[in-house]
């Protein structure tokens, strides 16, 4: 395999991203895990940029790093959970073994089929905002509306859950 600049950039982004993913699971305190996840999402956005997906990458930062994870950190701070000590029981080794086996099976089945094919020239600029906007309001208009209703339901549900009972 030849060492191209694309590959170097990918390695520089993917290595820390994988480490951060491990950190989410491995760190004891919730806020450390949350920060690892933020870092992971931030790097993922740059991986999307290397795939020339501008719009999904930037909305990754806006939605995940900027909104969802801030919510997580906020809740962690608010609850300030007395650290639930992770008991050392059988769950841990079994879980790790299960994960390794899962990764082995998936990788052995999926990766050889794909092979390391080189980047073919791109003909559709599917990452740019106008193309995505056009598609959202033409062929994907029904899922778009359904998603918007789902978001509305989510808003109402979270308001209802977070409301203090005043009866």
């Amino acid at each position: 395999m030849k060492l191209t600049p694309e590959l170097i950039i990918f390695a520089m982004l993917a290595g820390p991203a994988a480490l951060a993913a491990v950190g989410v699971v491995a760190f004891g305190s919730a806020i450390r895990s949350a920060l690892c996840l933020v870092f992971n999402f931030f790097l993922l956005a740059f991986l999307y940029f290397t795939l020339s997906m501008d719009m999904p990458g930037i909305s990754q930062i806006v939605v995940y790093s900027g909104a969802i994870m801030v919510l997580f950190v906020f809740v962690i701070m608010l609850l300030n959970p007395k650290l639930i000590e992770e008991r050392k029981d059988l769950k841990r080794p079994f879980g790790i073994a299960f994960g390794v086996v899962l990764f082995g099976i998936l990788a052995s089945q999926v990766l050889p089929v794909l092979g390391f094919e080189g980047a073919k020239p791109v003909v559709h600029q599917i990452g740019s905002p106008n193309v995505i906007g056009d598609a959202l309001f033409s062929s994907y208009v029904f899922p778009f509306e359904v998603i918007s209703i789902l978001l509305l339901v989510g808003v109402v549900g979270s308001v209802f859950l977070a409301k203090r009972r005043t009866d």
């Binding site: 993913a21 999904p56 841990r92 092979g115 559709h124 599917i126 989510g154």
Partner: protein
């Protein structure tokens, strides 16, 4: 394809996290990790398979569309999920998924 490899790795890490951790917030974060792994796979397939010669734009746009929808669903899910966690915390003063067996009867 190295992207798919990374995606698989992140997915497995998320599964391990869901299985072994007890803090519900961390479990939630692991679910987010799995969703993102899937997003990465969608985008890399869209870029390397369908954005090239011989495929129409309609085929190619499916990947980014799916990613946008997954993000929207994840946002809604997190809002409701964190609300539930807060409610449980207020009720029980202790959040440990292994101790939550009220519905078990």
């Amino acid at each position: 394809m190295a992207y798919i490899g990374l995606s698989l790795f992140m997915f497995s890490t998320g599964v391990v996290g869901v299985v072994i951790r007890r803090n519900p917030i961390v479990i939630f974060m692991c679910i987010e990790l799995m969703l993102n792994a899937v997003n990465l796979a969608f985008l890399s397939f869209a870029r390397y398979r369908y954005a090239t010669e011989g495929h129409s734009l309609n085929q190619a746009i499916g990947g980014p569309m799916m990613v946008i929808f997954v993000m929207a669903v994840a946002a809604a899910e997190v809002a409701v999920g964190l609300g539930i966690i807060m409610a449980i915390y207020r009720l029980k003063e202790e959040v440990d998924v292994d101790e939550l067996n009220l519905l078990g009867g």
